[in-house]
């Protein structure tokens, strides 16, 4: 992990196993499948549900600051706590939690490389007990919107060709062949992608065991599609969670400093009236 721009943004499963009872470390599981935590989790780990605890449940938005502070407090996280996030699907929603924590100014948040998949595959200990709620004091800053892209910024970036734009959905979603990942409900009126975006599916950043590819491999992967940080980068997907994974890769593993996550993503763009949409395979990579 030492070749990454910010190697401290990752920890190994071994590291986690050695810090299960470290008082300054909080381990939190965030899964796509919100039932997974209850099956068994890293001993002592808390569980956050992305669809109820990491978003505003009234309007479509990130968690309001006061709710974020409450969540941190109840998880026993203070501003100086080292937070280790991990989850299923190669840390898909764990990366979303990292993105939110960074937006609210938490400095020491890291991902367990390989996530839940690697922990389970290694036959490690799991627990079903839920840790007692904490009561730490937490004062959030921000939100730091320099990590986030809103619709008007994405539109301006498209019109001015001022950014490198990476669509991290599957090739079939990118081309418009399907409107949602196979087996999931369709959530847009039109299929396709934002014109000029490059298609680099998020999962290509991971090895089979769920760990991130090496810095050289990642540089080659994104560089081959012109995503090299020479311009600011916008990552998007369907609802912004897969793109938070790519945001993490580009910002913390490759060290590009101007990377934003467009969390409105295709469920916003693909439902708008009279915006440009491109379909087909021109820029898709299987």
């Amino acid at each position: 992990m030492s070749d990454y721009a910010y190697p401290d943004s990752l920890v190994s499963t071994d590291w986690v196993a050695q810090h299960l009872t470290d008082a300054n470390v909080r381990i939190v599981e965030v899964d796509v499948d919100t039932n997974a935590y209850n099956e068994g989790h890293v001993p002592g780990a808390y569980g956050w549900a992305w669809n109820t605890q990491l978003c505003d449940t009234i309007r479509r938005d990130i968690l309001p600051k006061s709710h974020f502070e409450k969540l941190m407090s109840e998880t026993g996280i203070s501003n100086s706590t080292t937070v280790i996030l991990y989850g299923d699907s190669n840390n898909w929603f764990a990366a979303w939690a990292v993105w939110e924590m960074k937006m609210y100014g938490h400095s020491d948040v890291r991902i367990m490389n390989g996530g839940r998949k690697k922990w389970l595959a290694e036959g490690r200990e799991v627990a079903t007990e839920t840790p007692a709620p904490g009561s730490a004091k937490y004062d959030a800053t921000g939100p730091d919107n320099s990590l986030r892209a809103f619709l008007d910024q994405v539109m301006a970036a498209y019109e001015g060709r001022s950014h490198q734009m990476v669509d991290v959905r599957s090739p079939a979603e990118f081309t418009g062949e399907i409107l949602a990942p196979p087996g999931l409900p369709e959530t847009c009126q039109r299929g396709g992608h934002i014109p000029h975006a490059r298609n680099i599916p998020w999962g290509k950043a991971c090895n089979d065991d769920g760990t991130f590819k090496s810095a050289d491999e990642l540089k080659a992967l994104y560089g081959s599609e012109g995503i090299d940080g020479a311009k600011p980068i916008i990552a998007y997907c369907r609802i912004g969670e897969r793109s938070s994974h790519t945001w993490f890769v580009l910002k913390y593993l490759l060290g590009f400093d101007r990377v934003t996550n467009y969390d409105g993503s295709w469920t916003e763009w693909g439902n708008l009236v009279a915006v440009p949409v491109e379909r087909g395979t021109a820029a898709a990579k299987a």
Binding site: D33, G40, N90, W119, S170, A172, G183, L184
Partner: protein, 73 residues
């Protein structure tokens, strides 16, 4: 408890590639089916045996994937 008997395999269901991951925690087998590209979880199940858990997950995945509509591009 330790996680035991972790396995992972690929198969095709309703024309889509699916990744089936199964493991045992305690007396229960857990099975997850994801859609490989992009890797979203589409079915989960439990069973007393590996086969029971996997067959339930495959049945759920089949139902969900059959509803996915492909469009001409």
């Amino acid at each position: 408890m330790k996680v035991e008997n972790h396995t992972e395999r690929r198969l095709e269901i309703a024309g889509w590639e699916v990744n089936l991951r199964t493991y045992q925690i305690g007396d229960t087998y857990h099975c997850k089916a994801d859609n490989v590209s992009p890797g979203a979880n589409i079915a989960r199940s439990t069973g007393k045996t590996r086969d029971e858990a996997e067959q339930k997950a495959i049945a759920k995945a089949t139902e969900r994937l059959a509803a996915t509509k492909r469009r001409a591009v």
